[in-house]
Amino acid sequence: MSAASTHAALTAGSPGTDPSSRTSSQGGDVRVEVVGTTRAEEFSAFMRSAVDPLHRTAYLLCGDRHRAEELVQQTFERTYRHWRTAREGDPLVYARRILANLRIDTWRRTRREVLGDHTDPAADLAAPAGAPPPRAGTAEVDDRDVVVRALLTLPLRQRRVVVLRHLLDLTEAEVAEELGMPLGTVKSTASRALARLRTTLETGSDR
């Protein structure tokens, strides 16, 4: 998916009930038309189309579904406050930029209810000895879990770059723009992060 040009079809109605909300795809690029007549209509439609890609990004950054939803909620709020600016371009890109720069890792230190506890993301990357083989169809999810936990071992800056560049498949230039980094920094950060990630994953699978 090329996330850079994702856009939402903005139609009327409350965000959770209007089935007409859609994300259209043309040749790999997802495009959106702003057709709502009011800010509420536009933003509702935007939420419908953006919630999944934003949640995916948030989840990969933080490794926790509940925290991911909190991050998406914060992203919606900030985007809403700047909707006039966001809608001038691609609102999803605008929102993802907000999301990527949120304080991803502060949550566990401040929130009282930790619903998903990854106290040591690096631990137990490999299946425990004697564990039964995964059922058919679950291998991908299992591997996602391993990768996401390995991601959590990266410093946040490296994690942001890797997620945007290599998991969401943005170009280096897009990553640089979204994170406000020089292009060279993106490249060097990605290189170091991938090396570290590879080591972590290989170490985990050797256990």
Binding site: T17, E70, R81, V162, L168, R198
Partner: protein, 286 residues
């Protein structure tokens, strides 16, 4: 890595593995209707915070937005900036639905220092007011809410049920505090009752204690890991079922374990369509 350079084969496999993780990321399960309401509410609170921090705290004027009452005085400064900055736990409930704006100071009897007061602007135009707890204070909170907001406050996935005997719910921190209502602002309460927005437990709060009556328990737990206090209150529906409301004051100083705080109902949730703007309390005016 360069965009135009193909990676080695093993790199390609490794990168494909990473992308596979993205492909299998879990889908969002958010309630978008609720999320949208929350978004608008927080945006309104954000505006109120920006205005209120100046208007309410400095000039003592009412918020420059419809439906918000001015409680007078100063305070709330600690909450609003944190919320505006999106700080998790700052005025946020367990499921993150709270929005906080500064409203002013609520004086408490016997205190030499004011409490911070915050207000939560809810979707239905009402304003939930509470004050912060202080580690050195023996009086804690001014809080009220109308029945209509209990639904809004309900967070069933995070708020445990309140046992009938009023004991604290399990798993909510190691220290719990029972709040005894000492005094009620009768004039204000009368206004609220006239507006039909008083919650049952607040009605009962006119007695000297609410902690012994099922359905009227109000207590707080202090998290062992964070300096925040969570207030639980429970109302009682006509059919006997219980409402559990949750209010995380957030960003507060930790209270000493074992402290039994007292409660003064000094401010209230006000239906802004029916209640004129009112200065409720001020320093030393309780």
């Amino acid at each position: 890595m360069n965009d135009t350079t193909l990676p080695p084969a093993d790199d390609a496999a490794f990168l494909a593995r990473l992308r596979g993780a993205a492909d299998h990321a879990p889908s969002a399960t958010m309630d978008l209707d609720a999320s949208y309401r929350r978004t608008r509410r927080r945006a309104a609170a954000h505006r109120a915070g920006a205005l209120g921090a100046v208007a309410a705290c400095v000039a003592g004027a009412a918020f420059a937005m419809p439906g918000v009452v001015d409680l007078g005085g100063s305070g709330g400064q600690h909450h609003a900036p944190a919320v505006a900055a999106g700080a998790p736990g700052a005025g946020a409930s367990g499921n993150g639905v709270r929005a906080v704006a500064p409203v002013g100071l609520v004086a408490q009897p016997g205190l030499t220092a004011p409490h911070d007061a915050t207000a939560e602007l809810l979707a239905d135009g009402t304003l939930l007011v509470d004050t912060g707890l202080r580690a050195d204070a023996d009086t804690a909170i001014a809080l009220a809410m109308p029945r209509s907001t209990l639904d809004d406050l309900r967070a069933p996935e995070s708020a445990p049920p309140v046992p009938p005997d009023g004991t604290p719910p399990p798993g909510e921190g190691s220290d719990h505090f029972r709040f005894h209502v000492l005094r009620v602002d009768d004039a204000l309460l009368a206004d609220i009752r006239a507006a039909g927005t008083v919650a049952p437990w607040l009605d009962d709060a006119e007695s000297d204690s609410v902690t012994s009556d099922a359905g009227d328990t109000l207590f707080a737990s202090v998290g062992s890991r964070t300096p925040s206090v969570t207030i639980h209150s429970r109302g009682q529906e006509a059919d006997g079922s219980a409402d559990v409301a949750r209010l995380d004051l957030g960003c507060l100083q930790p209270l000493p374990a074992g402290l039994d705080a007292e409660i003064c109902v000094a401010a209230a949730m006000v239906d802004l369509d029916t209640i004129p703007r009112t200065t409720v309390t001020g320093p030393g005016e309780y």
